[in-house]
Symmetry: C2
Subunit: 305 residues, 2 copies
């Protein structure tokens, strides 16, 4: 029997307006499902599906981007109304945006409906949405083999109990430094990871942005610095690209073992580095497998000793 490599990503598709020291762009393609699905598509072509919602105003040219990357849009609901919009500025701090506005629009009442043909998909990425919805999706899926789950500070502050309630069903829980500290109540990141694992999560990825990434499980720990970049144009979507590339690589690996998890984390790192070099998804739209492998090799050179 052929191995089922399909991936479902549940998250947002948005239109962002962003200002950074490198310019100002309006209504560019954004959203967690966008970055993660495109990031994943480089490693597991034609096996990536998204479940998300956009408004009737969502431009055809953006649909084309998903199509070009052979991303399954069966679960993309097009709803009467406007697409989720976010406006932010990185002028003060290139690593942390100031939000001008968040207009949820059709995303406000988003209820992810997993198409019948996708319910038995083995690989699931629950991108950052309301943890109650994440839990519902988890309960809908019938054959999950590996579940990756992201969240954000807002949910940690407002619905920590819901988050913790389904941690046992999550294989890999993805947080940034601050989120790991907040949800665990531990300042030290090792202790934060240990605490979250004691609450049920099988493994933890802590994203440290420009400082790299940490991975914790009971079997092993992994640390990698970030790719060194002399230009960070727009960090929006870096974490989602990371998550997508990670799951894309793993879902197309013959085995989910230590070696492949380490490699997946490095490829995820590499893909995130492409994302931040340009606005929106432009940094990962036109790269080739050769570009990725070249940067991977450079990273080997950067870190070996």
């Amino acid at each position: 029997m052929k191995r089922d490599k399909r991936v479902v990503i549940v998250g947002s598709v948005a239109m962002d307006s962003i200002e950074t020291p490198f310019g100002k762009k309006d209504e560019i393609l954004g959203g967690s499902a966008t970055f993660s699905s495109i990031g994943a598509s480089f490693f597991n072509r034609n096996n990536i599906a998204i479940v998300a919602v956009v408004g009737t105003d969502f431009p055809k040219k953006y649909i084309n981007i998903f199509d070009t990357h052979q991303i399954n849009l069966d679960g993309l609901e097009i709803k009467e109304g406007k697409t989720f919009r976010w406006k932010g500025s990185y002028l003060k701090d290139i690593h942390s945006p100031i939000t001008d506005y968040t207009h949820l629009n059709v995303f406000e009442n988003f209820y992810p409906k997993i198409p019948r043909n996708l319910k038995n998909v083995p690989y699931l990425f629950l991108a950052n949405i309301d943890p109650e919805l994440q839990r519902n999706v988890l309960n809908t899926m019938t054959s999950s083999k590996l579940v990756l789950c992201d969240t954000m500070n807002y949910w940690i502050q407002t619905k920590p109990k819901v988050l913790l309630s389904f941690l046992k069903k999550v294989d890999i829980f993805l947080l940034n430094e601050g989120e790991a500290r907040d949800l665990s109540g531990e300042d030290n990141l090792i202790n934060a990871a240990k605490s979250l694992m004691s609450k049920g999560a099988r493994s933890i990825i802590i994203k440290k942005g420009e400082h790299g990434v940490l991975y914790f499980s009971k079997d092993f720990t992994f640390a990698a610095p970030a790719v060194l970049l002399d230009k960070v144009c727009d960090p929006t979507g870096a974490g989602d690209t990371f998550a997508g590339a990670f799951l894309g690589y793993l879902s197309n690996s013959t085995k989910i073992n230590e070696q492949n998890i380490r490699k997946a984390l490095v490829y995820a790192n590499i893909m995130a580095s492409f994302t931040v070099e340009k606005f929106s998804v432009n940094g990962i739209l036109n790269i080739s497998k050769g570009d990725i492998d070249k940067r991977y090799k450079k990273f080997v050179g950067l870190t070996r000793f």
Copy 2:
């Protein structure tokens, strides 16, 4: 002819009073020359000398610590008066102390006198002191093969021109993140390193504390995460231990080449991790070469992919 492996370290020997979440200690051994010489002694036994000053109140038990590590004290001046004292607290932020007081005492008019028999030493570490004094020491040395130079924000703000004036005579310039940004005027660390290299430094080490270390030269770039620790008791001296271990390892290497520089940086990382686990130099006093190698191997496991 036997290779000359001798190292001279010019810096401070101090008595620190420190409060951290793990306790409060008064008048414990501190100072840049202290941490760096002991850190270096593990890699180049019996070839490390310090040039520093203490007061007549400096306890014999602390002299014994240097003796135990076979550190040459020919250049340790004992001057009528009190030893340099610093009091700081890490209660608010374990990575960045709040200074209660700095009493320079005999260190105020410290003028490093390199003993005649040490003037031709090939390896020099200019720990953080007034850059005018660093420049004088540089001009005194007759056979420098490798010069490592540290500084601090205070000198970058008050005497940047002096610092930049002798950058060409420095082989490896050591800074933390903030210092690299301040001295170069560049926010991005790669650009900061490039800028400092264009001003004469042959290579740059940027210490990122809990986030690891970066190394830049025209030949290669290296990045390593920090050792993961579930307890940071007292970070005082971590950077100096790092510097000492780095130079200790390199000065005892048959060649100063890329491979050995990478290894020296990792050993420096390892030694810094021992330092922060206990107060003062206690973390590195009683460790063995076996302890160091064990942690080195663990670090290989942490970072390989």
